[in-house]
């Protein structure tokens, strides 16, 4: 996406990769004023692998994830620290639609970058939650 100006990056490391893709472990999280609050997550193993991500609470304000002690430990989070949470977006055409994967959020330690894609099997969140476009241009949050 050469036409998009970028501003800041962070590195994410998924020790287990993404669900179904264990080889995709290292990603660069790229922010751009043109896209905020949507960001780009680029694979360092395969530069052609790029995801659009955003904060799930923009898509569903009531979105909540219960972090298990095992996940907290895997992310190197202290008992009182919370992970940052992102969800991956899918854009389809014919008709144009945006969905968010709320079933498989990305949890990460914002300081260390250790990340994990959870599968929230105790929830009823959808892997294809419809996203209204105005939710993605809400800069007030």
């Amino acid at each position: 996406m050469k036409s998009v100006k970028t501003r800041a990056t962070a590195d994410l490391f998924f020790p287990q990769g993404l669900v179904g893709y264990p080889a995709w472990q290292r990603f660069r999280l790229v922010h751009s004023p043109d896209l905020d609050p949507v960001a780009i997550m680029e694979s360092e193993e395969d530069p052609e692998v790029v995801f659009f991500v955003t904060r799930p609470t923009l898509v569903l304000p009531s979105y909540a994830v219960t972090i298990t002690p095992a996940t907290r430990e895997a992310l190197h989070l202290a008992d009182d620290e919370e992970p940052a949470i992102l969800c991956i977006l899918v854009i389809s055409e014919e008709p144009f639609a945006i969905t968010a994967n709320l079933l498989g959020p990305i949890l990460f330690n914002p300081l260390e970058g250790i990340a994990y894609q959870a599968v929230l099997q105790d929830s009823t969140y959808s892997a294809r939650h419809p996203v209204p476009i105005p939710a993605l241009t809400d800069e007030a949050t």
Binding site: M1, S3, V4, L18, V19, G20, Y21, D34, L35, V38, S43, V49, V50, F51, F52, T68, P69, A70, A74, I88, L89, V90, I91, S92, E93, F96, I98, N101, L103, G104, Q117, V119, Q121, A127, R128, I133, P134, L136, T137
Partner: protein, 89 residues
């Protein structure tokens, strides 16, 4: 794949740390109990497959979809509401 038959009340041990017990069978539904170390994930397959499938689709967005997305975000940001949107902007 190892295929076994079990009755309610019977169990299967996997490795040293995992135990799968058949708790009850009712019609076409089996209730299983699973004991595993807390760092071992135990997940319903169809949910894992759904997430994997969405990862696959999301990583292969056609260029046209990406372009539409950027255009739509930009238009929204500029306040050009698309026909059919009933938000105030």
């Amino acid at each position: 794949m190892l295929v076994l038959s079990r009755r309610p009340g019977e169990a299967i041990r996997i490795g040293d740390d995992i135990l799968v017990s058949v708790i009850q069978v009712k019609g076409d539904r089996i209730t299983l109990g699973i004991e595993a170390p807390r760092d071992v994930q135990v997940l319903r397959c169809e949910l894992v497959e759904e997430v994997a499938e969405q990862n696959k689709v999301a990583s292969r967005l056609p260029a046209a979809a990406v372009e539409s997305f950027l255009r739509v975000l930009n238009a929204e940001r500029m306040g050009y509401a698309a026909p059919g949107n009933d938000q105030d902007g």
